[in-house]
């Protein structure tokens, strides 16, 4: 199927290009971050990716089947290149810098925090989680799988998955509330006059 957005980008339509960037940024970000665990490096690589795409749009294949995975592969190449450069600069062996050594999810969570205090709080909260809890949290929020999918993949009842996530969230929330406590304003009594319609499944 013809993809007009992709073709427009390759023809130099800046609006189409920026629309594509907005739409896929977070996805590319969390992908690249999960490979390297470095926020600034991730941001730089994505900048580089889109700059390269824009500059080489005349030679990029207009018949890509899946633009996002095409860009992910491209991004991974940029990341490897950057990591080798960094490794050379710091005289590490390039081996330990290759993206094949992907950091674990809990390591990523901690590295993603900028603030040292938050890092420590989060670290102690993560220690309280069982490997199983962590794994399911990762599947739900990072891999964005539904409760149903997680239940099927792990051979668990849906309610069990739900309970595991719920308990883990309470632990994470407590750590989290400690570092955002300052922002908690007084909660005003909420008018119950309006009964909103909810369907919670």
């Amino acid at each position: 199927m013809e993809n007009s957005q992709w073709l427009s980008i390759l023809e130099g339509d800046k609006e189409a290009f920026l629309a594509f960037y907005r739409e896929h940024y977070q996805r590319l970000y969390s992908y690249c971050f999960s490979l390297c665990g470095n926020k600034e490096l991730t941001k730089d690589c994505i900048q580089e990716l889109f700059l390269e795409l824009w500059k080489s749009r005349h030679t990029v294949n207009p018949e890509v089947r899946n633009e996002l995975s095409y860009l992910m592969t491209w991004l991974r190449r940029i990341l490897s290149r950057q990591m080798i450069l960094i490794a050379k600069k710091n005289s590490y062996t390039p081996d330990s810098a290759s993206p094949e050594n992907e950091p674990s999810y809990e390591e990523l969570l901690i590295r993603h925090q900028d603030d040292e205090g938050k890092k420590r709080k989060l670290h102690s909260a993560l220690l309280q989680l069982t490997p199983n809890q962590l794994n399911i949290i990762k599947q739900r929020f990072f891999e964005k799988k539904s409760f149903q999918e997680i239940a099927e993949e792990n051979g668990l009842a849906r309610q069990t998955v739900y309970n595991v996530v719920y308990k883990a969230l309470i632990i994470l929330k407590q750590a989290f509330e400690e570092f955002t406590l300052i922002f908690l304003p007084l909660v005003l009594p909420v008018s119950i006059m309006i009964t909103p319609q909810f369907s919670i499944t």
Binding site: S4, K55, V190, I192, F198
Partner: protein, 345 residues
């Protein structure tokens, strides 16, 4: 699974609620609306919801909006710099282009001459606004007709369309108020543009449908086949964003907040609704009456003093009696049956 009322939600309750997660990732319009409404009705809930979002960003390893905007700005700066330096070194790039690309360059030169030529003609006639014809459908049935360029239009009840008598401009521009579907005659030299409120749909391919809820709130453009470019403008009519649609996708735009979404959608959704799965969202009387007519074939006549409706409800497998009862209770009115229509007082 969670029987709590959202106004009692703690941070972790938000994150266990699929509809909240869909709201944050803008995965589903209904969930987005539900939460946007809940949060605006219950301002006390906002601090906790904000914290829930922060926790969600943390767990999904995504960056907050303000950090994203900085990145976007950086990119815009570096690509305009790249464009500038490329213009200077253009000669180096030319020999590497394929034959096809070179042809394209010539075509672009030819096209820009053409545009200058047309620009001159338009300039000569400046001030003479092309007069538009107007069709308004006041019937209860959709009105089908053909424009002079061969495009066929299906105009839904209580909608109107303004269009030029003959399309002799560079772009075929029509202006829609309400709801219509278009089967556009392909003519790549004269793009077909539909202006509907803040949305401008430019046809690259063929069939699409525009729906607008005049009571405020949402407009949607749904693409049935071909491809379509949609520009969303703000109040000052400055172009703000561009979205491309592929078949079976639609864009929904919410005036009040300026939010919009692209989602996968098919006609089946509509078929299911008419099979007694009925959803009203901030519906005014006209909308309610139209849907009732579609589903039950019964005409509603509003003789009550209540004119500004804002009706919200969901029904599945409901009989007409049940729906009517709910409408009467919610809107505080009574109903009388007359032949095959129902009068509200």
């Amino acid at each position: 699974m969670n029987s709590k009322n959202p106004i009692d939600y703690e941070i972790h309750d938000f994150l266990i609620d699929d509809s909240f997660i869909n709201y944050y990732f803008k995965k589903n319009m209904d969930d987005y609306n539900l939460w946007a409404e809940t949060l605006s009705r219950n301002p006390g809930l906002k601090p906790k919801a904000d914290q829930a979002v922060e926790l969600l960003q943390m767990l999904s390893l995504s960056i907050p909006d303000d950090e994203f905007r900085k990145e976007l700005q950086k990119l815009e700066e570096s690509i305009s710099k790249a464009d500038h330096s490329k213009r200077i070194g253009d000669l180096d790039i030319l020999p590497r282009r394929t034959n096809r690309r070179r042809k394209l360059t010539y075509f672009l030169v030819a096209a820009s001459i053409l545009i200058i030529g047309i620009g001159y003609v338009v300039f000569k006639d400046w001030g003479k606004k092309p007069s538009l014809l107007s069709v308004t459908n006041n019937n209860e049935k959709p009105l089908e007709f053909e424009l002079t360029d061969g495009t066929s239009v299906k105009l839904e009840p209580h909608s109107s369309l303004q269009y030029p008598g003959d399309f002799n401009e560079k772009e075929r521009k029509v202006y829609l108020e309400g709801e219509a579907s278009f089967h556009v005659k392909r003519d790549t030299h004269h793009p077909f543009k539909v202006f509907a409120g803040d949305l401008v749909a430019t046809v690259l391919g063929t069939i699409f449908k525009i729906e607008k809820n005049p009571a405020d709130s949402t407009e949607s453009i749904e693409l049935l086949s071909g491809s379509l470019k949609v520009d969303v403008n703000d109040a000052e009519n400055v172009q703000r964003r561009t979205i491309y649609l592929k078949p079976k996708e639609r864009i929904i735009y919410k005036h009040s907040t300026g939010d919009f979404f692209k989602e996968t959608w098919s006609r089946d959704t509509l078929v299911n609704r008419t099979a007694n799965d009925l959803v009203f969202k901030n519906a005014d009387f006209a909308t309610v009456a139209r849907k009732i007519k579609e589903v039950y074939g019964i005409t509603l006549i509003n003789q009550s003093r209540k004119k500004n409706w804002n009706y919200n409800a969901e029904f599945s497998n409901a009989e007409f009696k049940e729906v009517l009862e709910n409408i009467c209770i919610t809107e505080g009115i009574r109903s009388f049956t007359e032949k095959d229509s129902v009068v509200l007082r």
